[in-house]
Symmetry: C2
Subunit: 290 residues, 2 copies
């Protein structure tokens, strides 16, 4: 449904809009942030591309809008940035708030199939269908034909899988410290077990970036910018497994940059935010207009 | 006393150090952040200038380090940034945690004279003497002869007053939405009444930027970069009063930039952080080395 604009905050010459709407996918209210670059205000009839940023475990759409520093780079390239939430909130499901890595704040960008979660936990459909459709309807400045996707950690898993499951829909993909092979890491096993059931391993593979990249069309190029910090404790603990993704991608052109000493925090994201927005701009931007 | 390094976080090619030390000024432990640009790591024998950033009401040294976005610009100019706390913490003073605009998180960068507060609330001496002295002793890469000062709101008041009370000690000053005339605004009146006593108006004037700028030596230049958002509710409520400061400065070269529609938040600070760091770099940086 249509978005209510709760606030308009001046930022880097553009505006950060705090939005809220009732979602048909999750059957809850969903909050998000939409950054509009200066050109969207000054030239509202010139359509601009969109970068969707998917956040990691425990986050809302606020954290990266405050600490990630994609906005100055998006402002420069005339790209809008969408920061959705990471799960439904207040769905009144028994146990939804019990864990920091499952349920609220941990929707994993999948459509759940298990009885308890399937009514609300449909973050795949929300991010891939409902949210962009509603945004393009209400904000005519956004160009639905030029969309890139990125994310951090669980959101990096979301970005890679949503890109890989929809060839051609997204023009570019990147990820910060992505959970790259969730079926083989504790976070992913807990989440997929809960949302799909322990036995439904076929469904698990449908949302695993490493499995998906194996079946990516050989003749389609697959450039992706992926950064992982070598000081990231979750990387060291085997939650991210970017090497598995790289190996599965084979000669498809994936290259992971291992950033010496960086951790899993927004200090890491903000340090490379410029590189990522510049990367997306190569695919999204029409240099004639911006 | 010497700083304990609690963490080193990779950020923009440099490091954000989480520091803690026992302060003789406040007689409490004080935490702070120190951003070292890449050159401080790669060329530790080449001294670099220092920018002190003073935070506003309710903040610690963490908020701006996470959300203010000074670091990428400081990295580029080879400037270290110090983010101190805004007050002593846990001084065990009756009522210290009762208000958000007085006591903890609201030290106002003054040395208190009233009985209750004077033993611990000596943030002027802490920021102006103890902290830089200890930093320059322990971190030899920092150049004690090239220091600039900036801040936000209450911290903007701190930056302007500390600069004006110490001619020549700081090479540059700027402020984001500074409380510019505290003796004439509710926040300042409450704080100065509490820290100096209601009757001690002479002391109040000694820490009021608008009073101090009136007596600034006429033949010393006084360039300062000051930004205030026109959408800032605290500006509209008369807590900041930058016009009084501008008027008192007369022909001394102060110019306040009124930024259309910006509020009082870190979205405002981050939007102009680059301008401020670039401004300080003009005064602080030796272009031969960086």
């Amino acid at each position: 449904m249509a978005f209510e604009i709760k606030a308009k905050i001046a930022n880097f010459g553009g505006q950060l809009l705090k939005l809220e709407h009732q979602s048909t996918s999750t059957k809850t209210k969903m909050a998000l942030n939409l950054f509009l670059p200066p050109s969207a205000i000054s030239h509202p009839s010139t359509k601009i591309p969109v970068l969707i940023y998917l956040s990691g475990l425990t986050c809302t759409g606020d954290n990266c809008a405050e600490k990630g520093f994609l906005q100055p780079h998006a402002a420069k390239h005339c790209i809008a940035v969408v920061y959705p939430d990471t799960s439904p909130r207040g769905a009144k499901i028994d146990g939804e708030d019990d864990s920091w890595d499952f349920g609220s704040g941990a929707g994993f960008y999948v459509d759940a199939t298990t009885e308890r979660w399937r009514n609300n936990y449909n973050m795949y459909t929300y991010i891939n269908e409902e949210l962009p459709s509603e945004l393009f309807k209400q904000f005519e400045v956004l160009d639905g034909g030029r969309v890139g996707i990125t994310g951090h950690s669980m959101g990096g898993h979301g970005a890679l899988t949503i890109f890989l499951k929809n060839p051609g829909r997204y023009l570019s993909v990147s990820a910060f410290a992505p959970m790259s092979n969730p079926i083989n890491c504790p976070w992913g096993q807990k989440a997929f077990g809960g949302y799909f059931g322990e036995e439904n391993k076929e469904k698990w593979a449908e949302h695993d970036a490493t499995e998906l990249v194996k079946v990516w069309e050989k003749d389609m190029t697959l450039e992706a910018l992926i950064d992982v910090g070598t000081g990231d404790n979750f990387y060291k603990q085997g939650q991210l497994l970017p090497e598995n993704f790289e190996k599965a991608a084979g000669d498809k052109g994936i290259q992971v940059r291992y950033q010496e000493g960086y951790d899993h925090s927004y200090f890491f994201i903000s340090s490379f935010a410029g590189d990522h927005v510049n990367f997306h701009a190569k695919y999204l931007c029409n240099q004639v207009f911006c």
